[in-house]
């Protein structure tokens, strides 16, 4: 089977790229090893957060935020996106300066943050910890449902004419005279262009294509409480340098509070499973209670993890190959890819179709690992 573009990997990145490529009129085959959206996407917290990101990533994040707001009209399905606001909260005076600095630095990118401290913070968000010294509020950020997003984009791509093949694990990609030949367990596929968006497994494919990258798989430690009356629209996270303290949470409209953060645990590319270590859940609980004291009345009912890929410099690989024409990458989103998904899909489709992108993505080029090792600043969390 042949198409203009083959996409390897049916997570949110691959599914969204397939959708936007169809919108640009290119024929697409999306190859997924198992089922669409089962690895990193489904383990995502569901954060639609721009604040705190690596600044050069903000144009892409802004584009993606606009697309999230239009998802129902774009794909004809609701993935529970709510622009309900995002709060980064700090508990130490020493962190106030950094929070103020970020708010100044991101303004030129069009991200307007509101800094709120102490009494004003308590008046406005009375459910927040009384110990909080400052919060940075991003009113147009929010959250969406990561379990639904990738399958919904893949279904939309299929409706637009993409060929979506599940259970098609790729066993080899070769550059032929005219086309790439992609061998899978479900047959052989050909196309003049290929995008690798295989998440934590992206490194194995890029290395086989001559471009190795320093990627480590890991699993986020997620959990959810029983439902309580829906009162807390904002997604919130603790802004801190101490890994264990860095928890985040959001309440879904059904009432449950989803949470994550703190330490990550091991993930295996071979078993395709990531460990949820209940000791991490225990370690999250005091910080969750600190951020949102009312949470102490609730019980944790479920936990999960999933396989994510982390690059050494904590930013993704995204853009054209440095060595092979027609080859493109979008993988290793280091635990902060969910918000970027639609923007990555639109931008990669633009790049593949036109050779240009309307938002800068040069910092994410795979060639950065081929050059002398330099480590640009990674994104801040929370």
């Amino acid at each position: 089977m042949k198409a203009d573009v083959i996409i390897v990997g049916g997570g949110l990145m691959g599914s969204a790229t397939a959708f936007f490529l169809r919108r640009r009129g290119l024929s697409v085959i999306l190859l997924e090893r198992d089922l669409v959206g089962q690895a990193a996407t489904v383990a995502s917290f569901g954060n639609i957060r721009r604040q705190g990101r690596f600044l050069p990533q903000l144009p892409l994040a802004n584009l993606s935020r606009d697309l999230w707001g239009r998802v129902p009209e774009l794909i004809g399905e609701d993935v529970e996106f709510l622009a309900s606001g995002h709060l980064r909260v700090c508990f130490r005076d020493a962190e106030i300066g950094r929070m103020e600095q970020y708010a100044r630095d991101c303004a030129p990118y069009g991200l307007k943050l509101e800094l709120i401290s102490r009494n004003a913070l308590r008046d406005r968000f009375p459910y927040l910890s009384p110990e909080a010294v400052m919060a940075s509020y991003s009113p147009l950020d929010g959250h969406a449902n990561p379990r639904l997003a990738a399958p919904a984009f893949a279904r939309a791509a299929r409706r637009e004419g993409a060929v979506v093949v599940e259970h098609a694990e790729v066993v080899g990609i070769a550059r032929g005279a005219e086309d790439f030949v992609v061998e899978t367990r479900a047959g052989t596929f050909r196309a003049p262009m290929v995008q690798v968006s295989a998440g934590a497994w992206g490194q194995r494919l890029s290395a086989a294509l001559g471009e190795d990258v320093p990627l480590t798989p890991a699993g986020p430690q997620m959990g959810v409480t029983e439902p309580a009356p829906y009162r807390i629209p904002e997604v919130m996270g603790i802004h801190t340098d101490v890994t264990e303290e860095g928890v985040y949470l959001r309440q879904v409209q059904r009432g449950n509070i989803v949470f994550g953060g703190g330490r990550r645990d091991a993930a295996s590319l071979d078993t395709k499973r990531a460990t949820l270590n209940p000791l991490n859940t225990m370690a999250q609980m005091p910080h969750l209670r600190r951020l949102l004291p009312a949470m102490a009345q609730l019980r944790v009912i479920r936990t999960w993890s999933g396989v994510e890929g982390y690059l050494r410099d904590d930013i993704p690989v995204m853009g054209p190959s440095g060595v092979t024409p027609g080859l493109f990458y979008a993988f290793g989103f280091c635990g902060h890819g969910f918000q970027l998904g639609p923007g990555v899909g639109a931008t990669m489709a633009e790049l593949i179709a036109t050779g240009r992108t309307s938002v800068p993505i040069e910092p994410f080029h795979i060639g950065r690992f081929a050059a002398a090792s330099s480590t640009p600043p990674g994104p801040q969390r929370g």
Partner: protein
């Protein structure tokens, strides 16, 4: 932190006998139980201050109950006994416990899981009305609190517990309106040879049935449950009888249950390998004849491994402890192994007879109306599950859960999982074993966010 001990989870018949055998070998095991008093479900004890005698509580099983309680009480000082304690997770060779706001991490040298069983539930329209209880809950109300679940009770489902609980209610003076059994009586005839493996138990079951008939209680077999009626409260039960006629029985409470399902989440968290058990129609942890799981030094005994009842659980608990002792380097006479294995053999045969005589009516799931709630934690109906399967192509349980939320709530599929699997299998037109099982995750039961590790831990 304490050095690793042998940990036994569950203080029912299997757990008590396992702990007793470990003590005999000179060990001081940890015995953890979710209940405040030992005895398990079948030999559940009343709270302090209640005075019904054992003969009234346990009937023909009173002598066994008294013996087991006496054994547990005598054992208590020689154990690290932790009642009222939930094991909510297993990680890195340790069990994680919660009692009130206190969490503990207890490393184990060996782990014997005696986690018991709960009712198998097949939903039907009206099953979430107030007044509907599981058979087990109806029995607990009677045993632990001397309460009946209603003033006019219908018992519906199948399995020996159906008749036992109905008989216990009659003996306690409650009004039993009817016993409605989905299994046709010819199934028992076909299973008779296997049931004869334990003649005394078979005779006991027949005595309950005769007693119910003598008391004038209608006993219908081969029924198809249609719905439980009522507004805000149970008012009656409607079934289709063997001849296909609709029959309505007035009632203000229903005890519902279709045999028992093993509680296997801890075995799953311990990473034991599971296989589909064609007799139980459930995924069960694989064990050898002595209770060894696929994971070294993790053992299973009692109804949590396979539902064979209390007598078998006592034997299997002791046998699993023997296996653990031997694997830890203690001398255990071969004769003890062979004696216990031999005693368990007829019980395994009897269990097959019971499952064949009182089969899980999985086929009923296909007939449930779309609006019937299957997953009550998340309010997911049979129709919603069928839609998820049709629209997303979800081929198995975990995908259906991820995309449609069935089994995602407080009970984590413990109540609805078997029925949900049947609904998915029927919607896909495949055998139920092809839709897999829900993956377990800690906490296996809700964990309060206030809970914390003690100061000397972590």
């Amino acid at each position: 932190m304490a050095s690793p001990a042998v940990i036994v989870i569950g203080a029912g018949p299997a757990g008590i006998r396992a702990a007793a055998r470990l003590v005999e070998a000179g060990l001081r095991p940890v015995l953890i139980d979710e209940n405040e008093r030992s005895g398990g479900q079948i030999y559940r004890r009343q709270p302090a201050g209640f005075t019904r005698p054992a003969s009234a509580l346990y009937g023909s099983e009173a002598a066994k109950a008294v013996a087991l309680h006496a054994a547990a009480d005598a054992l208590a000082p020689r154990l690290d006994y932790r009642p009222g304690t939930l094991v909510w997770g297993i990680a890195d060779g340790a069990v994680l416990t919660q009692r009130g706001d206190r969490l503990e991490r207890l490393p184990y040298a060996a782990l014997i899981l005696c986690s018991g069983a709960t009712d198998r539930i097949m939903p039907l329209p009206g099953w979430t009305l107030p007044g509907v209880y599981s058979l087990g809950a109806a029995q607990i109300a009677l045993k632990a609190q001397a309460c009946a679940i209603g003033s006019r009770v219908v018992f519906m489902g199948t399995g020996p517990l159906l008749y036992l609980v109905a008989w216990q209610y009659v003996k306690a003076g409650a009004t039993v309106a009817a016993v409605l059994d989905t299994s046709p009586s010819r199934r028992r005839v076909l299973a008779a040879a296997a049931l004869a493996a334990r003649p005394a138990v078979l005779a006991q079951g027949l005595r309950y049935l005769a007693g119910l008939r003598r008391a004038g209680i209608p006993v219908l077999t081969g029924v198809t449950p249609l719905r439980i009626e009522g507004h805000g409260r149970v008012a009656g039960v409607v079934v289709s009888d063997r001849a296909g006629r609709e029959r309505r029985v007035e009632a203000d409470a229903v005890g519902l249950g279709y045999g028992l399902r093993s509680e296997t989440q801890l075995a799953d968290l311990a990473k034991a390998r599971f296989g589909f058990d064609a007799v139980a129609r459930q995924w069960l942890p694989e064990t050898d004849a002595d209770g060894r799981s696929s994971v070294p030094l993790v053992y299973l005994a009692g109804d949590g491994a396979v539902v064979r009842g209390a007598d078998a659980a006592e034997l299997a608990g002791r046998l699993a402890a023997c296996a653990a002792l031997r694997d830890l380097g203690h001398a255990v006479p071969e004769e003890e192994f062979s004696r216990l294995r031999a005693a368990l053999r007829p019980m395994s045969r009897f269990r097959q007879g019971l499952e064949n005589g009182f089969p899980w009516p999985g086929h009923l799931a296909a007939m449930l109306p779309n609006e019937t709630i299957i997953c009550r934690c998340e309010a997911i109906t049979a129709g919603a599950i069928r839609r998820t399967v049709a629209e997303t192509g979800a081929p198995e349980m975990n995908r259906a859960k991820s995309l449609g939320r069935v089994g995602m709530g407080r009970c984590q599929g413990r109540i609805c999982g078997l029925a949900a699997a049947e609904v998915i299998a029927a919607a896909r037109g495949v055998p139920v074993e092809e839709v897999g099982q829900l993956r377990g995750a800690a906490p296996i039961k809700p964990l309060p966010l206030t809970a914390e590790l003690g100061p000397d831990e972590g």
